[in-house]
């Protein structure tokens, strides 16, 4: 087990020893700072919690994009640089090597989101003043605290980001092309919301089973639903189904593939 942790340690080294990772983090953290500074110019100082919500709402696409870049590169990058050969000829099965990569990717996503969350609260608290945030909760709210409310928002975004990076990871593994993985995943992220608006006009039940139709889970927080109008369980089941397919395909292909050229 400790031996396997060393594989994850390796993958972490390959993520965090690169300048681009830290550039991504810095760019992402600049956004809450910029928004909070902008808020200082307002006559009525808003609550830090309002801005914490705005931050993640405004930045989650960027966080997804950066996570997709890491996911797309983590397998395909080894193929394009040729390092995959020296990586695989070690006393580890391919499944375990792929697992170490996937875990490192999830750790990156968690770390990135957690760092963003904490930074956002800190910056907004320092610039706008710390408060308990009761004002942002709806009057008849079932939420106990603003923290729990915003954290739940992050939780739903996390689920979506994980599904997205797993898609990128799968494309990265199956097609060994990081650009294809980045392209397709971003297309789904950005085009997905437009497409789902169009597709929702089609009054057929199968439309609800399309992956990106079930994004936008945060709507459930305020008693709403994503565009499908289906309950939370439905959305989670569809996302879970896609997730299982992405994972199964990644492992199957990576395990079987001949590493040539």
């Amino acid at each position: 087990m400790t031996d396997f942790l060393r594989l994850i340690q390796n993958e972490n080294m390959k993520i965090y020893r690169r300048v681009r990772t830290w550039v991504m983090l810095a760019v992402t953290l600049l956004i809450p700072l910029a928004i909070a500074i902008g808020a200082l110019a307002l006559d009525n100082r808003p609550s830090m919690w309002t801005y914490a919500q705005i931050d993640i709402y405004a930045t989650s696409w960027l966080i997804s994009t950066f996570a997709v870049v890491i996911a797309a590169d983590i397998v395909a990058g080894e193929f394009s640089s040729g390092t995959i050969k020296l990586l695989l000829i070690r006393p580890w099965t391919r499944s375990k090597i792929l697992l170490s990569k996937y875990i490192a990717l999830l750790l990156f996503v968690l770390l990135f989101l957690a760092a963003f969350f904490l930074f956002s609260l800190l910056v907004n608290g320092l610039l706008l003043g710390f408060d308990d945030g009761s004002n942002i909760l709806p009057a008849d709210s079932k939420w106990r605290s603003a923290f729990a409310y915003v954290a739940s928002y992050y939780g739903f975004r996390l689920i979506e980001i994980i599904v997205t990076v797993t898609l990128a990871f799968m494309i990265s593994t199956v097609f060994r092309s990081s650009s294809l993985a980045i392209g397709l995943s971003i297309l789904m992220l950005l085009g997905g919301s437009i497409l789902s608006a169009l597709l929702s006009l089609i009054n057929k039940p199968w439309v609800d089973y399309i992956l990106f139709m079930n994004f936008g889970l945060a709507a459930y927080l305020d008693g709403g639903t994503p565009i499908t109008g289906r309950p939370l369980g439905f959305s989670l089941a569809v996302l879970g189904g896609y997730y299982a397919i992405f994972i199964a395909l990644s492992w199957y292909v990576f395990h079987r593939r001949d590493v040539a050229a």
């Binding site: 040729g82 390092t83 580890w92 099965t93």
Partner: protein, 310 residues
């Protein structure tokens, strides 16, 4: 073809009827040979003959269509982790993580095999002569330095078998020389078996104990290179003389051909000495005697029918 070395030591690698088909094309066709313990074993063939494919199958990067590969008796298919633990390799170019330092690269591979200490890493760095630059990023390395780092990652865990695919590619003559000496050192002093592929015939001749020749995915021949000129063995011997015709007359039937500066005969060690005496007795001036070893290149061209070599 299945020759066990004297003493019957188990071969380090056994290929048994190894075949690889991709679609309908047969890339590797029924390869069977053994690599004896402690030798530098050359794997020679023109480009596209299937050397790299064979190596990829030996290290588990490609699947076998049929056949078996055993490394120290462990099947590369069914006991991959146990089999590959015995192996250190560079497959084609030493492609390392360019954005990491040399040291971080070695640390990366060291972490993947239990029991490699920091001291061992330092020892290997010293051995391949990279101490001065080991904490620089690999992207700043020359090809020669990357080769050294490639060798370092391959020997970190003291493998019983070292596999090098075209190791001299891109090395300057001094680098080639150094690598050659080092591989011989590994084989002779540490008992490491070295399996090295190349299309450079002259290189293989200088480096290897034994050479397997492959063409179009088929094994053509396995030849012993060292220890081939033992006593009793007849070789072509060139006598450099002043009058080749007179020399030819004096030596009679043993003469294979007459050249401008001398005669070539087929002779063993003792016979050659006798012939020299006869020539001197016949008043022919002898300036030099040397064996004309048929170079591997000649042999190679012979067995591959002069196929294109590049």
């Amino acid at each position: 073809m299945l020759e066990l070395r004297k003493g019957g030591a188990e071969p380090v690698v056994r290929l048994l009827n190894v075949t690889k088909r991709i679609g309908r094309r047969t890339i590797i066709d029924d390869l069977t040979f053994d690599v004896p313990q402690g030798e530098v074993f050359g794997f020679l063939g023109p480009n596209g003959s299937g050397k790299t494919t064979t190596i990829r199958m030996m290290v588990g990067l490609m699947r076998l269509t049929s056949g078996e590969i055993l490394i120290k008796g462990r099947n590369i298919r069914s006991e991959y982790e146990a089999a590959i633990r015995q192996v250190g390799a560079i497959v084609e170019n030493p492609e390392l993580y360019r954005y990491l330092t040399g040291y971080q690269n070695l640390l990366h591979y060291a972490r993947m095999i239990p029991g490699i200490s920091r001291e061992r890493i330092d020892e290997v760095i010293e051995l391949v002569g990279l101490s001065a630059r080991i904490h620089d990023k690999v992207k700043t390395y020359s090809l020669g330095m990357r080769q050294r780092l490639g060798v370092a990652q391959a020997i970190l865990h003291r493998p019983a078998l070292l596999i090098l695919d075209e190791p001299t590619n891109g090395l300057d003559p001094a680098g080639i020389r150094e690598l050659r000496d080092y591989l011989r050192h590994l084989a002779e002093k540490e008992g490491t078996t070295v399996f090295v592929s190349s299309h450079l015939l002259s290189e293989m001749e200088l480096m290897c104990d034994r050479v397997a020749i492959i063409q179009s995915g088929k094994l053509i021949d396995v030849r012993l290179i060292r220890g081939g000129a033992e006593s009793g063995h007849r070789a072509e011997v060139l006598f450099e003389v002043d009058r080749p015709d007179a020399a030819s007359a004096a030596l009679g039937a043993a003469v294979l051909r007459t050249e401008s500066g001398g005669v070539v005969v087929s002779a063993g060690r003792e016979e050659a000495a006798d012939m020299n005496a006869r020539l001197v007795a016949a008043g022919v001036r002898v300036y030099g005697i040397r064996t004309v070893t048929k170079s591997l290149e000649d042999q190679f061209l012979e067995v591959t029918g002069g196929g294109r070599i590049d």
